[in-house]
């Protein structure tokens, strides 16, 4: 499983705007490059990234070949309640990954 660094504040006040960051280890192979044998290296990128907050979708992104390797995705949301923030992404080879983080809202 590819490594990823997920950053969600462990604690927040209700109504606070919090920053959420995800750094994902992925080659993001564009499909336009040729290998040493001259043949095209097949495209392999993360094509969909989704974030849910207690089951409700708060952010999603479609990714394209111009995005560099090891993508860094950062966005904000409003802290409404304690619970689980889940991140899910899928790449061209169909590999899906799920990471979660807990947040306590007071």
């Amino acid at each position: 499983m590819a490594r990823a660094l997920i950053n969600v504040p462990a604690k927040a006040k209700r109504g606070d705007i919090i920053e959420i960051k995800a750094l994902i280890s992925h080659p993001m192979e564009t499909g336009y490059r040729t290998g040493a044998d001259g043949a095209l290296v097949p495209r392999d990128i993360i094509n969909r990234f989704l974030c849910t907050y207690n089951g409700e979708e708060i952010f999603s992104a479609d990714l394209f070949p111009a995005i560099a390797a090891n993508p860094f995705i950062s966005f904000t949301t409003t802290a409404t309640q304690s619970g689980r923030i889940a991140f899910r992404w899928i790449d061209d080879q169909g590999r899906a990954q799920l990471e979660t983080a807990e947040i306590t809202v007071e």
Partner: protein, 265 residues
């Protein structure tokens, strides 16, 4: 074809004139107050990427190295931590003094070389290939334990002949363009080579994440880049020339804070 040749001849001619102009600028040692890390020459965005652990992509290798540190390897069935314990204490400041003199080989060895010596002799495992994800991950993880600490390379008097040889390599002209490292990094730092700022060549953050590579790389990989840039034949990975150059460059950067894992454009 003919036109190509003429163009090539013009390029080499121009490079020759340029190198003559460069050689007039004497290479001299910079006082400590004027030494600047490559970090200082970067854009604010790149600097921000490096200093925040949640955005620094080098941290992906660091966490992988942390896992490898406790993973058993080789016929011995031992992990790095079985001998060295917690890296946070045992590896603190270690990377900042590499390359070190290795008595068994009567010559200096760099951190990657030292990791592989441990793998072969203590773990009885196959050495990790140069630039492999695992080797870079372990070097990055060990390197991070020295982050912020001053570089102390070159304390051992036995290193002196190798450091001198590294310096000679640094000052030696090479390649079709007939440039030495010093021609750019001593005589012309702060100026531009195409759109890139020429830094002072202080290897304070290796292994580092280079945006151009879209990945992690060692100092040897970086040296090979520059050699290819002046159209010289790069030495093979692991060759003693690189170790001597690394030793010279790290001794030259003594006292500067270690930045591993750094980010560079």
């Amino acid at each position: 074809m003919n036109r190509l040749w003429r163009r090539a001849a013009r390029t080499v001619g121009a490079a020759g004139a340029l190198s003559l102009a460069l050689s007039l600028a004497a290479a001299e040692d910079l006082p400590a107050s004027k030494r600047r890390s490559g970090f200082d020459f970067m854009s604010r965005d790149s600097q921000a990427t490096q200093v925040d652990d949640t955005s620094n992509p080098g941290m992906l290798w660091v966490i992988e190295g942390e896992a490898l540190w406790t993973a058993k390897a080789g016929a011995s069935g031992r992990s790095c931590s079985d001998c060295h314990g917690d890296a946070v204490t045992s590896m603190k400041g270690v990377a900042a003094r590499y390359p070190v003199y290795f008595t068994e080989q009567s010559r200096p060895v760099d951190l990657q070389g030292r990791i592989n010596i441990c793998r072969e002799t203590k773990q009885q495992a196959t050495p990790l290939p140069f630039e492999s994800r695992e080797l870079l991950a372990l070097a990055a993880f060990i390197g991070k334990q020295s982050r912020g600490m001053p570089i102390t390379t070159g304390d051992d008097i036995r290193l002196e002949p190798f450091r001198v040889r590294g310096q000679a390599l640094y000052e030696e002209r090479q390649g079709q363009l007939n440039f030495s490292c010093a021609d750019c990094h001593d005589a012309n730092w702060g100026r531009k080579l195409a759109s890139s700022v020429i830094p002072q060549a202080h290897p304070t953050g290796y292994p580092l994440y280079r945006l151009e590579w879209q990945g992690m790389g060692s100092l040897q990989r970086r040296l090979r880049n520059c050699m290819a840039g002046v159209r010289a034949e790069p030495y093979p990975f692991g060759s003693p020339e690189y170790i001597d150059l690394e030793l010279f460059l790290m001794s030259r950067a003594r006292g500067m804070p270690s930045e591993t894992p750094a980010v560079r454009p």
